[in-house]
Amino acid sequence: MDFRLTDEQTMLAETVGALLHDCCSGADLRRLLESGAARDAGRWAQIEAMGLPLMLAPEARGGSGLGMVEMALVAIACGHAALPEPLVEHAGIAVPALVAVGRDVPAGTVAVGHPVNPFVADADTAEALLLADGDAMHLVPRAAVTLVRQDSIDPFRRLFRVDWKPAPATRIGGAALWEAALERGALLAAAQLLGLAQRAVDISVAYTKERQQFGKPIGSFQAVKHHLASAQVKIEFARPVVLAASALPASSLARARVSHAKLAAQTAADAASHAAVQVHGAMGYSWEVDVHFVLKRALALGQAWGTPGFHRARVAEHMLSAPLGPDRTFDAVPLQQEARSEAA
């Protein structure tokens, strides 16, 4: 038992964090919006140069052969930066699905039309889309679908309704693919929310150290301190849940913990982004300050990949059916075996 990041994992998180810190600041985000482009080509090139899009693919397929813990760390960094490009959905959700059925990963990104989400993010810039027809998963070229943009409050969430016709040739698998994709999607949304929550606190700490009212920095007022400290406590107790969920093999506990991670990270992001608005005063409400990038993304991801109600129901299902207790914290009984032991 060693519930610690390895040195390699720590280094990966730091490297990706540093990259995005340098090329995905609030100013970079504003510049992208002003340009009208969907993506920052230079930033995406740097992300590709690090091998991140294929990080979960096996080395034999040109990937890095990393696991979900590493992917979660990258997603935390993407959340912290409010990254506009679809690295998480492509690398964390689409690529493993393709790998699982032995498909090649296209050169561009693959968008994911999971039935749990009403719209498909980043469909316009994708080379292909994973789409659902009943239980079936189809891999459909971008050119074969029609897109209708659906405006999100987050200008970087490029959502689309996808009109398309299923054909036997594009079918790549069944329900199991979608089920696994949901677990990854919810987990990585949680990881991004965790990064967003920390970013909201970081922005707020920087601001309240400087901003003076009543003759002193507002960060010296107990009310401001306690807003931010309470948000940080939520972050501290969401992080190990996200990491544990990313490390567990598939099981009833793992499903419940993915949902727990999503709920805890969403709550932390909600608390932190509201605290950020509050301690920034009117500044937190303006376009010029980075708070809103965090707030909008947190609002969207909090409801995407399963709403809080959806995830609370999954937690309740485990809680009311599986054996509980202090010896069960890491007790990831494989699903089949658990079913057997329940029957016994």
Binding site: D151, I153, A223, A282, S286, W287, H292, Q303, G309
Partner: protein, 386 residues
């Protein structure tokens, strides 16, 4: 205590309801912050209201009002929101400045400003905050230098709502060399005066809801000062200030929103988290409690009572209820919550809930941040030491 409406009050409600039914625009007006067109459409609505005698029913008749009491004001507001009438583009004038003018204005000032305000001819912006003076309003640095019969105003105001399109603004200015709460005067100035530069500030949804005002030797007559020279702080914090607090956020606004939330819950309850039912009921109860509290205050004021720290408890309560109500709405909308009104597949009202949420986010911040209000309650209402 008699919580029945009198026949006269019921007749008044019926009169408002009839007028609103006949006059409220069938289609919502374009919003008053985004475009000049929307702004002017709302000014036109103010004129329509005024023509009907509904500009400000509590004001004296000679200034364009009806001289009615606060219960009738509440009834008016209930019918106004019930009818879905447009937002009041002149709220900074009629709700914030108006009562102060009535208490502190000279007869000349009242005659000059109130009828034009009631008629929508002057739309007002507020100019409270400065870059260094937000929660700490006594930190304003803009100056008013007396020069004969004029003041010369200089400084930098910020977060000035409505100022992008408005006609006039009011704010605090200090005598050069004065400090903190002393030496401040409340001064009214036209936004098209020489030396005034208005720079829009985008709210985070991109709407130019605020502006910065740069004042560079703006000359206004000394008759634009409201109250005594150097008494601006007291004027702003006066009883009139408290009545402003009473009027700025009508309970009816939240009761209408709560009723819509109940409809949304009914429509979505099948798919909703069972925990959300409790949140919906809480929103409805909170809106109701706010209304009852305002009725109690209005009854007391009508009987000659003075208003106390209710403005602080009210401020906290309505701002938190508004935020919670909209968070509950977004939770009911689930994955649709992020959609703006422009999204082609968004269900009806989804964009309105999102707009309402964005607006509600600012509630705990503006009109005196809730942290400041809690300090006021603790110190002035409970008597805790500073």
């Amino acid at each position: 205590m008699d919580i029945r409406y009198t026949p006269e009050e019921q007749a008044f409600r019926a009169e408002v309801r009839r007028w609103m039914a006949a006059h409220v625009p069938a289609q919502p007006l374009p919003d008053f912050d985004s475009t000049r067109e929307g702004f002017e459409a709302h000014r036109q609505w103010e004129r329509t209201l005024h023509a009907g005698g509904w500009g400000m029913v509590t004001w004296p008749v000679e200034y364009g009002g009806r001289g009615l009491d606060l219960i009738r004001w509440l009834i008016f507001e209930e019918e106004y929101y019930r009818a879905g009438a447009p937002g009041r583009v002149n709220q900074n004038g009629i709700f914030l400045l108006g009562p102060t003018l009535i208490e502190y204005g000279t007869p000349e000032q009242k005659a000059r400003f109130l009828p034009a305000m009631a008629a929508g001819d002057h739309i007002w912006a507020q100019a409270w905050s400065e870059p260094g003076a937000g929660s700490d309003l006594a930190g304003v640095r803009s100056t008013a230098v007396r020069d004969g019969d004029d003041y010369v105003l200089s400084g930098h105001k910020i977060w000035s709502s409505r100022a992008v399109h408005a006609d006039w603004a009011f704010g605090l200015f200090r005598a050069p060399g004065s400090e903190r709460h002393k030496g401040l005067s409340l001064i009214l100035f036209p936004l098209d005066a020489a030396g005034v530069t208005v720079r829009p500030i985008q709210r985070f949804d991109g709407k130019p809801v605020f502006a910065e005002l740069f004042l560079d030797n703006v000359r206004v007559p000394a008759t634009n000062r409201l109250g005594e020279e150097g008494q601006g702080w007291a004027v702003c914090m006066s009883t009139a200030g408290f009545e402003r607090g009473l009027m700025l956020r009508s309970p009816a606004r939240f009761q209408v929103a709560a009723a819509k939330l109940v409809d949304l819950y009914r429509a979505r309850a099948g798919a909703a988290d069972p925990a959300l039912g409790a949140a919906v009921a809480q929103a409805w109860m909170d809106a109701d409690a706010y209304a009852l509290s305002i009725y109690a205050t209005a009854s007391r004021l009508m009987a000659g009572g003075a208003i106390g720290p209710e403005t602080s408890t009210n401020k906290i309560f309505w701002s938190e209820l508004d935020l919670d109500l909209h968070k509950t709405a977004l939770a009911l909308l689930g994955a649709e919550a992020e959609l703006t009104a422009a999204a082609p597949d968004a269900s009806a009202d989804v964009g309105d809930w999102l707009d309402g949420y964005v607006f509600s986010l600012a509630g705990p911040v503006y009109a005196g941040a809730n942290e400041i209000q809690r300090n006021i309650i603790a110190e002035r209402m409970l008597g805790l030491p500073r």
